[in-house]
């Protein structure tokens, strides 16, 4: 049996407006019950509930497509960020424009590192001390998460193309920075800072 709220105090939580047992009550809440009943008559439940539209769980491929598109966006973002970082280092190193241009533009997926445009393979002209493209051995060295990296890094699904490209840029940075006599730790940090940025972009749904 539901009880009326006290006219002076707070209503008990099981009070139910419009409860048939309440509507002819003697206190002021009978009027509230009547208001409730009138209002709910107007608010045609049947019309509001008319034919709920059919719903089907999205197909798995839809999920995969969303994830794929996010991953693709992330790839683009990561490549741009890394390319920009590489270009900046190149600029600081005084590398020729042709190299900068090659790096600033994300490489087409079909271009593997060992199929780099010849411009990247050339010995750089006009560069102090010369510039050499990364060796295959350097390219193939895996990018490993830095010590203390979070599991986020491990959760990333690395596409081999992305991996190759990131390795390429990473080792390119390393190679270029030889000229700048970089601090190895600093170089690692710089690379992972860009990587963290890319992670952040991925997590924010870019």
């Amino acid at each position: 049996m539901k009880t009326h709220p006290s006219p002076t105090g707070s209503a008990p939580s099981d009070w139910f407006p419009g409860d048939p047992s309440d509507q002819f009550g003697q206190n002021e809440f009978a009027e509230l019950d009547a208001a409730w009943l009138h209002w709910t008559e107007l608010l045609d439940k049947a019309e509001g509930a008319a034919v709920p539209p059919p719903w089907r769980p999205p197909h798995r491929s839809h999920d995969a497509a969303i994830a794929g598109s996010r991953r693709e966006n992330w790839r683009v973002f990561a490549l741009r960020a890394l390319s920009a970082a590489a270009a900046t280092v190149l600029l600081a190193a005084g590398v020729s424009w042709s190299h900068r241009a090659a790096i600033s533009n994300p490489l087409p997926a079909s271009i593997a590192v060992n199929q780099q445009p010849s411009a990247n393979r050339e010995t750089t002209s006009g560069m102090d001390g010369g510039f050499e493209p990364p060796s295959l051995a350097a390219r193939d060295a895996p990018l490993t998460p830095p010590v203390g990296s979070t599991s986020d890094a491990e959760d990333l699904t690395w596409d081999s193309t992305v991996d190759t490209r990131l390795n390429y840029v990473h080792h390119l940075l390393r190679t270029i920075d030889r000229k700048l006599e970089p601090d190895e730790v600093m170089l690692e940090r710089a690379s992972w800072a860009v990587y963290a940025l890319a992670l952040e972009a991925q997590q924010s749904g870019l």
């Binding site: 209503a11 407006p17 209002w39 608010l43 045609d44 719903w55 769980p57």
Partner: protein, 178 residues
């Protein structure tokens, strides 16, 4: 894949929710948005969200409360996004015509009902409307409503009571005449 049976169970569960609670949910969305079109769109979104979060859902025996929570948030978000006004200040949209073949006297009656409802809804604040509609469509306890709208129980009860008082005063002339 190990996760597949879990996913299938979740799909089945959500399909069941649509069947069991779809009407109440659609009713709430229609009443809170005042539009069949918006209600249909949000209805899809509610279940899509439930499906996306299928692995986070923990069974507590009140799926309608869970679905209404999503629906309520979506409806409020949409309302605030679509208008700089608060929901309580928005005019209640008149019921949309549903059937062109409706006899004129029934249409008139419906229009009159729509007008009364418009007056009644306009007089309620957003929170009063939410509390009363959650009670009506969801048949939730006030404790559940309080949790859903994130306020103390007594506040939820007080919103319900004040909302009904407003309805009483606005619907009173009609009540007298009947």
């Amino acid at each position: 894949m190990t996760g597949l049976p879990e996913d299938q169970r979740a799909d089945e569960r959500i399909r069941q929710w649509v069947e069991t609670h779809g009407k109440a949910l659609r009713g709430y969305l229609w009443a809170i948005t005042g539009s069949h079109h918006d209600a249909d769109e949000l209805f899809q979104e509610v279940f899509h969200r439930a499906w996306r979060n299928r692995n986070q859902y923990t069974e507590q025996g009140r799926p309608l409360a869970y679905l209404l929570r999503i629906a309520d948030r979506l409806a409020i978000d949409r309302s605030r996004k679509h208008s700089a006004q608060t929901m309580g200040e928005q005019p209640w949209r008149a019921l949309e015509p549903r059937d062109d073949g409706e006899p004129p006297w029934e249409k008139l009656e419906r229009q009159e009902s729509a007008r009364q409802l418009e007056v009644a809804m306009n007089e309620l604040t957003e929170i009063q409307r939410r509390v009363l509609l959650l009670k009506y469509y969801g048949d939730l306890t006030f404790a559940e409503i309080a949790e859903l709208i994130d306020c103390p129980l007594n506040t939820a009860l007080s919103h319900a009571r004040r909302g009904l008082q407003r309805l009483r005063s606005n619907l009173a002339p009609t009540q007298d005449s009947t």
